[in-house]
C-alpha cells in the first residue's frame, strides 16, 4: 500500500458512520413504514427518497462510493488480523472477531440485496412502485427470508459494534467506564435495530404487498 494508512483507516472509519451508518438508520425508518403503515406508507417513503434533488448524485456519493471504499478497505483490514479468540476468549476480542466476520457477511448480503432491488430498478425490470411487491416475492421464499435475517443481524451488529469502536478510535470514549457504558448502549441499539428490521421484513409477507392495486385505492 502506498500513501499513509492512517488517513486510509480514518476515512474508512468515518465513512462507516457518515454516510453509511446514517443511511442504514434511514433505511430502517423507511422499511419500518411497511410494518406500521402498510404498503402505502412504504411506497410513500420510497417515493419521498426518490424525490430528493440530485438523487443520483446522492446515491453515488452518499451510498455507492462510500460503501465500495468501506467494503474493500474493510476486507483488507479483516485480512490483516490474526484472530486468536481460542487463546484469548475475552469479550472484546470476540467482538473484534465478530466485527470482521459480520463485515464480510454484510458485504455479501448488501451485494445480493442491491442486485435484487436497486439493480433491477436500474435495469427497468422493476419500478419504484413495485418494490413492495418485489420484497413480498423475496420474503415469501423461506430460504431467502432466512438469509435476509442473517444479513440483517450481521449488518446491524456490524453497525452497532462499529459505532462502539468508532467512539474509541476518535477518542470520544476514553476510560474503561465510558467504554463499558458505550458497550451497553450499542448492545441495546443492536437488538432494537435488528428486531425492527426483522419486523419490517415480516411485514412484507402480508398479502397486501402482492400487487400495487392498494396504492391506487388510497
Amino acid at each position: 500500500m502506498t500513501g499513509n494508512s492512517y488517513y486510509y483507516r480514518k476515512l474508512h472509519s468515518l465513512l462507516g458512520v457518515i454516510p453509511i451508518g446514517a443511511f442504514l438508520v434511514e433505511h430502517l425508518i423507511t422499511n419500518y413504514a411497511a410494518f406500521n403503515q402498510g404498503h402505502g406508507g412504504f411506497i410513500e417513503g420510497v417515493e419521498w427518497l426518490n424525490s430528493l434533488p440530485l438523487v443520483f448524485a446522492l446515491e453515488l456519493f452518499g451510498i455507492w462510493l462510500p460503501l465500495l471504499y468501506h467494503g474493500v478497505y474493510g476486507l483488507y483490514v479483516a485480512y490483516t488480523a490474526r484472530n486468536n479468540v481460542t487463546n484469548y476468549g475475552y469479550f472484546r476480542n470476540q467482538m473484534f472477531m465478530l466485527q470482521r466476520v459480520t463485515g464480510v457477511l454484510t458485504l455479501l448480503f448488501i451485494a445480493w440485496h442491491v442486485f435484487e432491488t436497486r439493480v433491477q430498478v436500474a435495469l427497468g425490470n422493476v419500478t419504484h412502485e413495485e418494490l413492495g411487491v418485489r420484497m413480498h416475492e423475496i420474503a415469501t421464499q423461506p430460504w431467502a427470508f432466512a438469509l435476509y435475517c442473517i444479513g440483517i443481524i450481521a449488518a446491524t451488529f456490524h453497525f452497532c459494534n462499529g459505532m462502539w469502536s468508532f467512539l474509541v478510535s476518535w477518542g470520544i470514549t476514553i476510560g474503561p467506564r465510558a467504554q463499558r457504558v458505550s458497550s451497553y448502549v450499542w448492545m441495546v441499539a443492536f437488538v432494537v435495530m435488528a428486531v425492527m428490521f426483522i419486523l419490517s421484513l415480516s411485514a412484507f409477507l402480508d398479502p397486501q404487498f402482492q400487487d400495487t392495486s392498494v396504492l391506487t385505492k388510497s
Binding site: M1, N4, S5, Y6, Y8, R9, K10, V77, Y79, T80, A81, R82, N83, N84, N87, Y88, Y90, R92, N93, M95, F96, M97, Q99, W164, S165, V168, S169, W170, G171, I172, T173, I174, G175, P176, Q179
Partner: protein, 254 residues
C-alpha cells in the same frame, strides 16, 4: 490447584523448541523433579543441569533468557499454557500440568525460547520515548509535574518492554506493521511530562503514519494481558483523542 498436581515428584513440561532462527520448530517433553515453590525458570535450570528428555534420551539443554527474576525486566517472557507471561513469576504450583512452554512467536525466534524483541526498542526510538534535556548550557529546572498527574503517569512508567501485549494482539503480526500497544502508551507517558510535552506533536505525528495508531482494532487483549496492569486501552483511546485533535488542528491551520 495444588490438588490437580497428581504426581508431586515430577513435573511434566512440553516445550516448543527450535534449533536456530530458521529451522522448523518441534516439541520435546521433559520430566522435572518437583521442588516446593519452583517456577518455570527453576525448572528450565533443572533441564539445563540434566538435559535428558521424558523418554530418557540425552538432548541439548533448552535455551531461554532471564535476568531480574522478579518480573521487572521482561526478558523471560514466553507463552506458558497458552498465555504470554514472565517465566520467573510463573509458579509451577499455580499451573495446570503438563505445562506447555513456547516462545512468543510474534517476535523472531532466535533459539528455543529466546526471542528477539528488537522491534519494541526501535518502536521506542521511533516515537522518541524520552525527554530531551540536552543543551549547550544549563537549561535550569523544568516545569514541575502535578502530583495528580504523576500518580497515573507512574503506572505507565512501569512498562518493562516485555512484549506480552504485542504477543496477545491480533493486529500485531506478519501481515501488518502495527507498532503495538506498549509504544503508544509510552507516547502518552512522555507527552504527559511537562518537559516531554514540548515535543508532543512529533510523537503524535509518528503515530499518524503507516504502522501507527490506526493499527489498533480494539480487541483489548493487551490490557487483559499486561503483567504490570498498565491501562493500555485507556492510553490508546487518549492518544486517539490527541491524534484526532492534532489532525484537525493541522487541517485548519493550512
Amino acid at each position: 490447584m495444588a490438588e490437580a498436581v497428581a504426581d508431586k515428584k515430577n513435573v511434566r513440561f512440553i516445550i516448543t523448541r527450535q534449533d536456530s532462527a530458521d529451522s522448523p520448530s518441534y516439541t520435546e517433553e521433559f520430566e522435572v523433579p518437583y521442588r516446593p515453590n519452583m517456577n518455570v525458570i527453576s525448572a528450565l535450570m533443572e533441564i539445563q543441569r540434566t538435559p535428558v528428555n521424558a523418554n530418557g534420551k540425552k538432548t541439548t539443554p533448552v535455551c531461554w533468557e532471564s535476568n531480574c527474576l522478579e518480573e521487572v525486566c521482561g526478558a523471560c517472557s514466553m507463552v506458558i499454557n497458552g498465555k504470554p507471561r514472565q517465566a520467573c513469576s510463573a509458579l509451577v504450583d499455580h499451573l495446570e500440568q503438563p505445562i506447555r512452554v513456547a516462545p512468543m512467536k510474534t517476535f523472531p525466534v532466535v533459539r528455543d525460547l529466546v526471542i528477539n524483541r528488537e522491534r519494541m526498542f526501535s518502536a521506542l526510538k521511533r516515537v522518541k520515548a524520552w525527554i530531551p534535556i540536552d543543551g549547550t548550557y544549563d537549561l535550569g529546572p523544568g516545569p514541575r509535574m502535578a502530583e495528580t498527574k504523576r500518580q497515573w503517569a507512574y503506572e505507565l512508567s512501569k512498562c518493562m518492554t516485555c512484549g506480552v501485549c504485542l504477543e496477545s494482539c491480533p493486529n500485531v503480526n506478519d501481515k501488518t506493521s502495527f507498532i503495538g500497544p506498549a509504544a503508544i502508551s509510552q507516547v502518552r507517558l512522555f507527552n504527559t511530562h511537562p518537559t516531554g510535552e514540548m515535543n508532543k506533536d512529533e510523537r503524535l505525528e509518528t503515530l499518524m503514519e503507516d504502522g501507527g495508531i490506526e493499527g489498533c482494532g480494539n480487541s483489548q487483549n493487551c490490557v487483559r494481558s499486561c503483567p504490570k496492569g498498565i491501562p493500555l486501552t485507556t492510553s490508546i483511546a487518549a492518544i486517539n483523542a490527541d491524534t484526532t485533535k492534532h489532525l484537525f488542528k493541522k487541517w485548519l491551520s493550512f
